[in-house]
Symmetry: C2
């Protein structure tokens, strides 16, 4: 049996070796635990070619275990801590990300949306508590005065009602939302696409310092990690997944912020959009979302936002996910078998059992259950995902129970 | 048999005697023709107490036939003409207003939404042709610079693509839409709530003159009629009914312009709303409509508007009304029986036959058809409107065939 320290080190090494969000790594860790999963990958035993190549490409950069040990030391040095699913403060509902697994198109950020292996956190709040009653406010970096005004108002209003404001720490709308929350004396969380010791952009350094003092800086990447471009999109799934709903204020056509809203829509979380002048290029993306998605809700201020998230917030129940579907009641093994099916085409039961890491008898038993629920069909002598129902399984939260409201002020609890 | 002149005079007298939009008058005219309907009313034979009182209250103001004769002379003097359902230029689809009959609440403007008895028209275009490819653009009088800009752009863009721009001639959005159309050299129609010889507001006098030169001024009220407050709301049903769709640009909370959009929604015409800054009081009503009505469509410019109305515009088919319902196939007598049922409670078959103006045997035959179509149920020994299906009957257009596109320029045809 591995120690907690060994498992922590393995998670950090895996994050560095394979980038956050990789489904095959997530599955391996669920099946084998992080230590054995790391061993397997380093021995060249990755279950698919792409992952084997990723691991092989990364190894010349250093010994993953040594890199991880360095990262642990640096984490302590910069006053941060690592939070894993084993910890009480792990945020609830991250497993709703499973609902995104089959919904993607071709880009990596659309395909690789697995829950994080661990978070780096700077700030005094227990992560799960800070996020239990939270709303994401996201939008354009090149925001207009109008957008900044509205985002500040919404950030202020949410914080004033004891909701945590989550955003990405970027210029423009993100910064305005954080600032609004800070002005109200509330809690705000910046989810970063780089190390928590060097939050990006530098121009927001003073803002990040204030957030770390009274709220949290959070990242899936180790201290020192660069804010590489794809990481922003990988990060966006976390912003959508850890909050009760996402509000978009200003977005140009096809923006990253709009992509965060798509994630919220896919997870059936309230997806809210603030309209703006039709003459503003910075509202084009917002209006597109409202035209294209019936489920996207037009909101004009904090009262409307609270109407959407408050329904589920007042009683501290878990986020609404629409009517319960068969898929929501699957046990872990059945979910694993379902997830192990290829997105296209079919797979024989032997290969499927191996891929899911269950024995043949279990695979057959779970497949017959899945067939009964119309989630799986027999095809070409094997099994395939049934064409129509919405994908994903909503497993139970991994760590702490959901829905603890944040205490009235920062807990002053020592970091680490 | 009455002459055309007698029928025209009777329609004018009825309009003066009972205000446009009164359903019981509309039904009497359908049953008896305008001349006999007028005789009946003047003899105190109105079918319901409210109408009897209305007629009695009006009569001291003058002999209705003499008032109508004066109105005919004045119509000629001011260079206007009267258009009735007997004329080729009567607009198509006005009978869609029947879809509003059972949908109202308590106010007269919500209950009395019958098609007009006649129109006064100033301008060279045949009325039906000018309206065959038309879009309504309506909104706040106290418009902002933003709203005026957007309404002008949409008015221009529509006219530029040979769509007629219909509005109410008011300050603010209405005037901007008309001006945009005029600037593009297109056709625009102002539907007024007062006489076409003294269009209101006076401040738009120069605008009205330009509209009369190249487009049309239209009213249900005789020359000299005052723009009384309730008339604006009565007028709004016409703006929604004669156009292929209605665009709302700026509205304060609970505005008259929003009511026009409700009419369009009730008739299943495209109901389009331009969003604005959430910080603007003049967009509050627009955003409310978008939040409350799933069918209301967010549009940001003329391209989106054409997408909505163009589907039905390109092939000159009649406006889309959703899937055909049983109610759409009713013959006139069945529709009459259905319309004669009280909005609440039930009515015995004898009373119902009398009210509908059909004999007992016809009433029973039509009731059994309506029962079969689930439009009517037996209750308390009588008949009542069935609770669920959408109300109204979409009768065939009364006058000219629909869908004649306007010729490229004003026809220069003599008015009258």
């Amino acid at each position: 049996m591995s120690t907690r320290e060994e498992r922590l080190l393995a998670r950090v090494a895996l994050t560095w070796l394979t980038e956050p969000g990789t489904w095959s790594v997530h599955r391996l860790v669920q099946q084998l635990g992080p230590v054995a999963a790391l061993d397997l990958l380093l021995d060249g035993g990755a279950p698919d070619r792409r992952l084997r190549e990723t691991v092989a490409a990364r190894q010349p950069a250093g010994d993953p275990r040594a890199v991880a040990a360095d990262a642990l030391a640096r984490t302590e040095r910069v006053g941060a801590r690592i939070v894993t699913p084993e910890d009480d403060e792990w945020p609830a509902h991250l497993d709703d990300l499973r609902q995104l697994v089959l919904g993607g198109v071709n880009r990596r950020v659309d395909l690789e949306t697995a829950p994080p292996l661990c978070f780096w956190v700077r700030g005094g709040w227990p992560l799960g508590e800070a996020l239990a009653r939270s709303v994401a406010v996201v939008g354009a970096r090149a925001a207009t005065g109008y957008g900044v005004h509205v985002a500040t108002e919404i950030g202020y209003g949410l914080a004033d009602r004891d909701w945590t404001v989550v955003s990405g720490g970027a210029f423009g709308i993100d910064a305005a939302a954080h600032r609004g929350a800070l002005t109200a004396g509330g809690v705000t969380v910046a989810v970063l696409a780089c190390g928590v010791d060097r939050p990006y952009p530098m121009g927001n350094a003073a803002l990040f310092d204030r957030i770390a003092e009274t709220g949290l800086l959070v990242s899936e990447w180790m201290p020192g990690a660069d804010p590489l471009r794809p990481r922003f999109l990988i990060r966006n799934r976390v912003i959508a997944a850890v909050t009760r709903g996402t509000v978009l204020v200003e977005a140009a056509a096809r923006s990253g912020a709009a992509q965060t809203l798509h994630r919220a829509l896919a997870m059936r979380r309230p997806a809210m959009v603030v309209p703006g002048p039709v003459t503003s290029a910075m509202s084009v993306g917002a209006h597109e979302l409202l035209r294209e998605h019936r489920e996207a809700r037009l909101v004009t201020g904090v009262a409307h936002v609270l109407e959407e998230v408050g329904r589920i917030g007042e009683d501290l129940a878990p986020p609404a996910r629409g009517a319960e579907r068969p898929i929501d009641r699957l046990d872990d093994e059945a979910a694993l078998v379902l997830e192990s099916l290829p997105r296209r085409g079919s797979l024989g039961v032997d290969a499927l059992a191996a891929r899911a890491g269950v024995d043949l008898r279990t695979a057959l038993r779970k497949l017959s259950l899945l067939e009964e629920l119309s989630l799986v069909v027999r095809r070409d002598g094997g099994y395939a995902v049934a064409p129509s129902p919405a994908p994903g399984t909503a497993a139970r939260p991994v760590g702490a129970p959901a829905g603890q409201p944040p205490p009235p002020g920062p807990p002053g609890r020592a970091a680490g």
